[in-house]
């Protein structure tokens, strides 16, 4: 079966978006192909910033046929009394080219009709492709659409299209460009490439100095980076953003190593790293926490490496000279002197200025200092200063240095080391992958910062929906949960939220904030591979101690393999079931009659302090262990005691007792939610 090549030639895509767009296009195309019932093999995605290409293996030459039934005349009209076809039925058959044996009778409402089974032959794939390729491209989401000649809108103008089924051009058209067999190699080092066969694509483009396979480019980049690391005994300071840029920037990457003028090596390492990484230009290298004297760039194509190296070094020199002047400018004023100016910077119209934000952070920090037993004075100082670097030239020029610069300037201003460190760390984690603060004050300040970024927007009604989250509330909510879980912060988050809620304008109830954070916790547990039934079990009751929830989930997961657990879960399920819809509260042990009843009561009295002790010590496995000893008495209870007995008083007493027993279990987990085998 034929191989299909589609290549869309474009003016240079944004390097940071090229891969995402390519993948979205592949998905949209496969979706269309499947909706059109065209069988296909593997769909390989190839892309550079100047082309999106698909190689579809074993593409069927036509759509699959469809068999459907077409309704003809009513039986009373189509058949005469002898059962022979009337002219009406024969006409119907002729119209669809059917044979009498393909007719069937089916009732529709009151009447019976003749139906013809008709096979609709699939159309040729080439014809289908003409329809689905433009549709698939239109379905690709882009950060911004542009027009270039008044026609189709896309991320960048489309300049050529190649569409080949094996060796034949598929006559499709995209944004006014007709497909052919002519592709284009590297802008300066390749030439136009006439493709005889779809299968020639990757090789012919490589000969024209274009690596269309992103894997091949990635390998080349990785090897070049590793080579420079080895040669200079340094580590590349890559970031996910930089990597995306590097992979997207070139069709024929070629490493060029340059040197940083020594006068700039004294600048703070993060500044040099940011200046080099800016716009995905260069890969900085570091050695033992200091910037190395070399950097790496990837040239597009096979230009003169000496010329390019000199150019790179000039650009780096210019930018580092800028950075140094920003640094000198910023140092003219201590951070603390910039704080009052925060009153002039609007953070968000409803949530006030950056100064208002700082005031809230200080209030939250006061609570956190109490909760975590931290010294209030340095934490408050860090909170006061932590946003001041937003007013420095350096952070305006290199936004990624927010916080980091604050830390550096604070240290140079002579602020305490722990204050400087907390300022530097408080912006972390910036992303899901980013590391967390390490110092206790940094953790607290970060928690305050993220919490402020959740409570504020939600209180004024900016609750994220679907993919809409302009304030990054979800990211911040996840950061709150990560800090609690990974830093082992034991406190009642909900109580804290209640206490600080009045600092915020807005009318959304605090319950919205809590529900949102609770939901973030659920996501966090799921991301940490806690099975959903365990998540349900430990989250059956709202609990502001997020760390406790996480630890209970872990304890339960550790128990998941043990044979006692399913039996215990079933036993507890019996308790939960019988309590459904029952209101009974309270009981009197004097009313217990049956042995099994008394037996469970004694067991409960023995177990309760054990469970409570274990809970207080946060030893949740131990709590489970204690609960597990109730399994046998519970089973016996249900075997021998008729809870729903005639005597209303006895019944209420029994239900009241089971309620209390159930409460004890629920403080650990609602085991009845576990999915147990059998």
């Amino acid at each position: 079966m034929p191989l299909f090549l589609l290549e869309i030639g474009l003016e240079d895509l944004p390097a940071e978006e090229a891969e995402a767009v390519a993948q979205a296009f592949r998905e949209a195309f496969v979706r269309e192909l499947e909706a059109a019932r065209v069988p296909h093999g593997q769909v390989r995605l190839l892309w550079t910033l100047r082309r999106l290409a698909l190689l579809v293996e074993d593409l069927a030459e036509k759509q699959e046929d469809v068999v459907e039934e077409v309704r003809g005349p009513a039986v009373s009209v189509g058949l005469d009394p002898q059962g022979n076809l009337t002219p009406a039925a024969l006409g119907f058959l002729r119209r669809y080219g059917g044979a009498p044996q393909d007719l069937v009778r089916r009732p529709v409402g009151e009447k019976e009709y003749l139906f013809l089974r008709v096979r609709r032959p699939g159309r040729p794939t080439a014809e289908i492709l003409r329809e689905i390729v433009p549709r698939a491209l239109s379905a690709v989401p882009c950060s911004k659409f542009m027009r270039w000649d008044g026609g189709m809108a896309f991320l960048r103008p489309i300049r050529w299209v190649v569409a080949l089924l094996d060796g034949d051009v598929v006559p499709l058209e995209l944004a006014g460009v007709r497909a052919g067999r002519l592709s284009y190699g590297h802008r300066f080092f390749g030439s136009a490439v006439e493709l005889g066969h779809a299968g020639d694509y990757v090789g012919a483009l490589r000969a024209a100095k274009v690596l269309v396979d992103p894997e091949e480019r990635a390998r080349l980049l990785r090897e070049a980076i590793a080579g420079v690391e080895r040669e200079h005994g340094a580590r590349a300071a890559l970031s996910p953003e930089l990597w995306t840029m590097l992979l997207g920037q070139t069709e024929w990457p070629r490493p060029v190593v340059g040197r940083i003028p020594s006068e700039f090596l004294e600048l703070p390492e993060p500044v040099v790293v940011a200046a080099l990484r800016e716009e995905g230009k260069f890969v900085p290298l570091t050695r033992g926490g200091r910037i190395a004297e070399v950097f790496l760039g990837f040239a597009e194509g096979e230009g003169n490496p000496e010329v390019i190296r000199r150019g790179y070094e000039r650009v780096v020199g210019i930018r580092l000279r800028d950075a140094r002047s920003f640094f000198e400018e910023d140092r003219k004023l201590p951070l603390s002197a910039r704080v009052p100016a925060l009153k002039g910077v609007v953070y968000e119209a409803r949530l006030g200025t950056l100064w208002d934000r700082v005031e809230r952070l200080r209030q939250i920090c006061a609570h956190l200092a109490r909760l975590f037993g931290l010294p209030l004075e340095p934490l408050d100082r860090a909170a006061l200063l932590c946003k001041a670097d937003l007013l420095t030239v350096m952070v305006r020029e290199f936004p990624e240095l927010e916080g980091v610069m604050g830390g550096i300037y604070a240290r140079l201003d002579g602020e305490g080391a722990e204050v400087a460190r907390a300022i530097a760390e408080h912006v972390r984690p910036r992303t899901r992958e980013d590391s967390l603060p390490e110092s206790p004050l940094g953790v607290a300040l970060s928690l305050a910062d993220k919490l402020d970024g959740v409570i504020g927007p939600i209180r004024v009604g900016e609750i994220p929906t679907g993919s809409r989250d302009p304030y990054g509330v979800r990211r911040r909510g996840s950061a709150v949960v990560r800090l609690i879980l990974e830093k082992g912060l034991r406190f009642d988050l909900f109580a804290l939220v209640e206490e600080v809620a009045d600092l915020y304008p807005g009318t959304e109830p605090v319950a919205r904030v809590k529900a949102f954070l609770w939901d973030r916790l659920r996501s966090a547990l799921e991301e940490r591979a806690i099975p959903y039934d365990i998540v349900d079990a430990v989250m059956a009751q709202e609990d502001g101690d997020f760390l406790g929830v996480w630890e209970r989930a872990q304890a339960l997961r550790a128990w998941a393999g043990r044979p006692e657990l399913p039996a215990l879960a079933l036993a507890f399920g019996r308790v939960r079931n019988i309590l459904k819809g029952q209101e009974a509260q309270g009981f009197d042990p004097a009313l217990f009659r049956e042995d099994a009843e008394k037996d469970l009561w004694h067991a409960y009295q023995r177990v309760k302090p054990q469970v409570e002790g274990a809970l207080a010590a946060h030893r949740y496995s131990e709590a489970l262990e204690a609960l597990a000893s109730l399994k046998a008495p519970i089973d016996r209870y249900f075997d021998e005691v008729l809870v729903m007995c005639e005597d209303g008083r006895v019944r209420a007493n029994r239900l009241g007792f089971l309620r209390e027993l159930s409460e004890l279990f629920l403080r650990v987990a609602d085991l009845s939610r576990l999915v147990v085998p059998g």
């Binding site: 542009m146 027009r147 270039w148 080092f189 390019i308 000039r314 650009v315 210019i318 800028d322 609007v346």
Partner: protein
Amino acid sequence: MRTFQDMVLALHRFWRDQGCAIVEPYDLEKGAGTFNPATFFGVLGPRPWRVAYVEPSRRPADGRYGENPIRFGLHHQYQVILKPPPADVQDLYLRSLEAIGLDLREHDVKFSHDDWESPTLGAWGVGWQVWLDGMEITQFTYFQQMGGVDLDPPSVELTYGLERIALFLQGVESAFDLRWAEWLTYGELFRERERQFSVYHFEQADVERARQMFDFHEAEAKECLDRGLVFPAYDHTLRCSHLFNTLDARGALATAERESYIARVRALARGCAEAYLAEVIGAPVSPRDRP
């Protein structure tokens, strides 16, 4: 290309041959060639338009007292407008670099995503910074909007940073060492000027008077617009824009105030664009006007 002026002349010849009208810089302070009426008004409406010109561009905040090799309070842009954009516009641009003597096979040329926006003009477009060995030498933009008006057809704007390109052509490290003519350096022409304007914009300019001048020109622009005098209104808009830049460089504007000044200039620019479309090119374009 031995001199700065030879480079300019070569660009003039190249773009003249592509059907551009070579027009002159506009005689008012402005932050970029985009503000020249040949661009601002030329890209509006359906009429095909091709122009090229040098524009001395003033950005007070970019001044460095003549001490930075490539940053200046006034630099020279070479501006090209191609409306509608030809399909081979990228190649055309690259050929213009070859026409001024750059051998692109020696260098690393990248079209790096950079969408352009001018909040004061109410204009935006998508495109690239063109990097030559990592240095930005051109802003390449498909305009989508000007003066708040959607553009149909779009235009391509090429803005060459002439000083930067000349560094490559003349093989020097500082723009002040460039030869403007055989007997004259860029430094002789501009270094002292740069120093003085940096002093003026960062230390001297009277903030209160600048605010007042802004208010005067804004009032004048509004009255001109009321009387259908689009071009005088636009001149006063340009003056407002420059006074805003002066206030900004002087560090006189808090964030919220800055936003409000930008909004005031944008409102004027929008008024000019709309009045121009309604009153000036309400008339049909005659075929002989097409390039």
